[in-house]
């Protein structure tokens, strides 16, 4: 079946972009929309033209690499489904499919449909983990976890880090993403020790880069991992508590640590070796 594709082309972050129109003559219904791009790219390469750059990897909905706006919706026409699993069968012959990169201030375009989503990992870097050093863990059975809690933690942990929630949000907010991680770790007994410091640090880092959540709720249908709005309530609740703890002086601030300031201002991936924090353990050597 014949489809018309309007695709965003942009050489690099600095260049202006534009839509270009292409035609694919023999799309088949069971193809994914990424396979449709493969087909178009094969055509372009045969003609000696630059193929369309797009991120993808697992092609089975788990790595979170893929992510483009299709007809104005993150990932495409079907709710809760990543681009790699959206199928051509949702289109009729002659339809126009518009494909452009995720649009969000925190996701600058790198080329064509490829955007830089490292701002999401900055949020994780600020606290989205449990600080247990290798070899320091107790026997796993000493931490029984209620089955329902484990299931709920798994629900939240399912986030694939694609950024569709941000792209869907009129404010470009990342609350669904951050909330999913906060809720996952807060649900488990292991996550309690750092619970409030974690959320405070993640939220303040997030607010430096992303817009503010005003509860539009557009993120939920766009989310391919089924993350629910309740994680945002969770995030807000824990953040409020963290602020109260801090006011009462119950919460040490990690802000004074130079790396955290650097993390906020970037370039976050580079760290200056001379500026490394001294490992306490070194002192006993």
């Amino acid at each position: 079946m014949r489809l018309i594709l309007d695709v965003w082309r942009q050489d690099d972050a600095a260049s202006p972009g534009r839509f270009e129109r292409y035609e694919v003559a023999e799309a088949t219904p069971e193809m994914s929309l990424l396979e449709l791009l493969d087909m178009l790219n094969a055509q372009l390469v045969t003609e000696g033209r630059d193929p369309i750059a797009f991120d993808h990897d697992c092609r089975e909905g788990i790595c979170g690499s893929c992510g483009v706006m299709i007809d104005g919706r993150p990932h495409g026409p079907v709710d809760s489904t990543p681009a790699c699993l959206q199928r051509v069968r949702n289109y009729a012959a002659g339809d126009i499919v518009t494909i452009e990169p995720f649009r969000a201030g925190a996701f600058p375009v790198i080329r064509d449909l490829v955007v830089d989503r490292s701002s999401l990992d900055r949020i994780i870097t600020a606290g989205g983990y449990i600080s247990t050093a290798t070899n320091a863990a107790p026997e796993a059975l000493t931490l029984p976890v209620n089955k329902h809690q484990a299931e709920a933690a798994m629900d939240h942990a399912a986030c694939i880090g694609c950024g569709a929630c941000v792209a869907a949000c009129p404010n470009g907010a990342a609350q669904l993403f951050a909330g999913a991680k906060v809720a996952h770790l807060a649900e488990l007994p292991q996550g309690q020790v750092e619970r409030y410091e974690r959320v405070r640090s993640m939220v303040t880092t997030m607010e430096d880069m992303f817009g503010s959540c005003t509860n539009y709720g557009e993120c939920v249908p766009a989310c391919p991992a089924g993350i629910e709005l309740d994680v945002i309530a969770h995030l807000n609740r824990d953040f409020r508590r963290a602020v109260i703890h801090e006011r009462r002086g119950e919460q040490p601030r990690r802000d004074d640590v130079p790396w955290l300031a650097r993390l906020r201002s970037g370039p976050w991936l580079q760290s200056d070796p001379d500026d490394r924090p001294t490992d306490d353990r070194d002192a006993d050597a």
Binding site: C58, G64, A133, A157, L188
Partner: protein, 650 residues
């Protein structure tokens, strides 16, 4: 065509894995005592490169970083979380023995040695089983939401090829949860300023000076800049090369470049022909399908595999009565039935397909039927157990496994082969460590389900951080190489020249086209079943394809930008070389073992026949000398704790 092996390869000296000898149960503990240590205050004086941030790489990088080493981690992905470990579904094995079913460290050890068809190193496998216990503790502490029983204990299930319940899982997304835990630890270290993470940076070459690994050459995938990074040691954790078949269960960016370039710089490549075909992949439905999706093997716990007894039976599955169905796994392997190991199940499926009993529109699958389990357990339980797998299947095929049996087929999935390493996970190039699927030492000729997340975790978190220290300790006071060192300059020039050469071919054919052709050649000649003549033919055809590639490939665009065609072409160029070695290794190994089934070597019942007298060994290949023949070294293997026996799943 001549099969004369001696014209194709040369034989080198025996090599040894330097595994300590003695009682296998205490080897690792004793070995730890003998490993040299680096004083905590001195660790920051060492710089270690970790390539790959999958389960193995993230584990090694974060642990070394916690210990105080300067770590530089590299991934070609835009975020560490996206490494292909994220796609593992079924689970991770550990000898926790949480059930009263007779499991133990020794049993996991024995199952792994037997499962690998006696082609792995006993000492390494025992260590794997021992450390599995710590891995689960660690992952739990990191917040992996393992499935739980009502009492709060961690749940386990049994997985292909074993009779005990030792597989830990997080719904059907175990790999995702492990990978997230690993990458979060890595980002924690980035935040702490102890690790520098480089995303969208691809390793193009290894730098070797004075016989030691001293750095890597990388390309920034956004700017195209090619530059060296030097260090005291290099760890490769770059995953498996199964995607050489083009249609595999691996992610599209999976590649062999890092390990293959290291091989070209002197690292031996172990057992390249040992490839596992997963019996529960989705059958291909069209030419544009970009990969074969894996349906987790855990489905075989509750599904029954069958085909119609009559070839060409066109009836809908529901219309085929019991007496016209052949539940061939249950028939051929009554003790294990539908849980028979992967290699056996894949070959059994291929037999049915070859006999014309395939099902589905293209007759390229077999049924996996849940009707009995649904009756026994109810729909709700089935949905709870396999919900997301069923969704994946419905999405791909438009059919609901709760009402119509699934269709499955064998697909390339995992490589047991990889860079040769000694007991310390160090290659024969000092300073070059290898872990996870990129290495070769645990799984022999066939990997047990749920053992690979385990080996990646064990290598990354619990082995390499200890053994790297042993290598570094005596090197205290040495400086990393300057970028003006002639060996560094030469390696960078090589990498640049290679990229330019690819761009300059100026042919007419896209890299993907060659990749598909290569995949077909491998599937035909180096697939589920191999024989000498086909392998020789395959090897020659691969070489011709490679020559054609270098004459006619077209890489559009230029090198100083994000250029995905260039990335594909570069990885494919290495695959075209690796593939030839895979065929040669399969031709050379004149026996059947595990997943390597040579049709010349089978019993009267069609089972794999090992040749223990000549082939109780691993093959470690060195690159071709001037005469063009790769050199095969053999590592003799001994089996003391688990005596050699014929694998039987009858």
């Amino acid at each position: 065509m001549s099969i004369d092996l001696d014209q194709r390869r040369a034989i080198g000296d025996e090599i040894h894995g330097a595994a300590p000898t003695g009682d296998v149960k205490t080897l690792w503990e004793e070995h730890l005592l003998n490993l040299r240590l680096v004083n905590p205050a001195n660790r920051r004086k060492f710089k270690v490169i970790v390539v790959g941030t999958g389960l193995a790489g993230a584990g090694a990088a974060s642990t070394l970083s916690e210990l105080g080493y300067q770590v530089e981690a590299f991934t070609l992905h835009d975020a560490p979380r996206r490494a292909h470990s994220v796609a593992a579904q079924g689970g991770i094995n550990a000898a926790k023995a949480y059930k009263a079913d007779g499991d133990s460290v020794d049993r996991l050890f024995r199952d792994t040695v037997k499962g690998g068809d006696f082609r792995s190193r006993e000492a390494d496998v025992h260590r794997l089983a021992e450390l599995s216990v710590r891995v689960i503790d660690h992952l739990t502490a990191l917040g992996v939401p393992f499935a739980r029983e009502y009492g709060g204990q961690i749940a386990t299930r049994s997985f292909g090829g074993v009779q005990v319940s030792r597989t830990f899982y997080a719904r059907g997304q175990t790999g995702q949860q492990l990978q997230l835990a690993g990458s979060q630890q890595l980002l924690k270290e980035v935040g702490a300023g102890r690790t520098t993470l480089h995303t969208r940076v691809e390793m193009l070459d290894l730098i070797v000076a004075d016989g030691r690994a001293v750095g890597i050459v990388v390309r920034d995938m956004i700017t195209g800049e090619i530059r060296p990074v030097t260090a005291h040691a290099v760890i490769l954790a770059t995953g498996g090369y199964g995607n050489v078949y083009f249609k595999s269960t691996l992610a599209k960016s999976s590649n062999v470049t890092a390990t293959w370039r290291a091989h070209k710089r002197g690292a031996l490549f172990g057992n390249p022909c040992f490839v596992q075909f997963h019996p529960t992949s989705l059958p291909l439905s069209n030419e544009w399908q970009s990969k074969t999706t894996l349906m987790s093997e855990s489905l075989r716990n509750d599904g029954r595999v069958w085909v119609p007894k009559q070839p060409g039976d066109d009836r809908a599955p529901g219309d085929i009565p019991e007496q016209d169905r052949d539940y061939y796994l249950e028939r051929m392997y009554p003790a294990f039935g539908n849980l028979a190991p992967r290699d056996i199940s894949s070959r059994a499926a291929k037999l049915q397909l070859d006999a014309g009993k395939g099902v589905g529109p293209l007759r390229n699958g077999v049924y996996l039927d849940f009707a009995d389990a649904i009756e026994r357990l109810g729909r709700a339980t089935m949905e709870e157990r396999y919900g997301n797998l069923f969704e994946l299947y419905i999405d791909a095929t438009g059919e609901d496994p709760l009402t119509t049996p699934m269709r499955i087929a064998p697909g390339p999935h995992f490589v047991m082969g990889g860079l040769w390493t000694d007991y310390n996970q160090m290659s024969n190039v000092p300073g070059l460590f290898v872990g996870g699927e990129a290495s070769f030492n645990y799984h022999g000729a066939n990997r047990l389900g749920a053992n690979s997340l385990l080996s990646a975790s064990v290598d990354g978190w619990f082995v390499i951080p200890w053994t790297v220290a042993d290598y570094l300790a005596p090197r205290l006071g040495t400086e990393v190489l300057g970028h003006d060192h002639p060996d560094v300059v030469a390696a960078v020039a090589d990498a640049r020249a290679r990229v330019e050469r690819l761009l300059a071919v100026g042919g007419t054919t896209a890299p993907d086209h060659y990749h598909k052709e290569l995949g077909q050649l491998l599937t035909d000649h180096v697939g589920v079943e191999r024989h000498a003549e086909g392998l020789a033919k395959g090897q020659d055809a691969i070489r011709e394809l490679r020559e054609d590639f270098w004459r006619n490939v077209r890489v559009v665009g230029h090198g100083a930008q994000l250029n995905q065609e260039l990335e594909r072409a570069g990885r494919l160029a290495d695959y075209l070389e690796l593939a030839e070695l895979m065929a040669l290794d399969a031709l050379d190994r004149d026996e059947s073992a595990g997943a390597h089934f040579r049709s010349e070597h089978q019993t009267s019942e069609g089972e794999a026949m090992r040749d223990d007298e000549h082939w109780t060994s691993g093959s470690a290949w060195a690159t071709a000398g001037d005469d063009g023949r790769p050199v095969r070294h053999s590592e003799p293997l001994t089996f003391e704790a688990v005596p050699l026996a014929t694998r039987s799943y009858k």
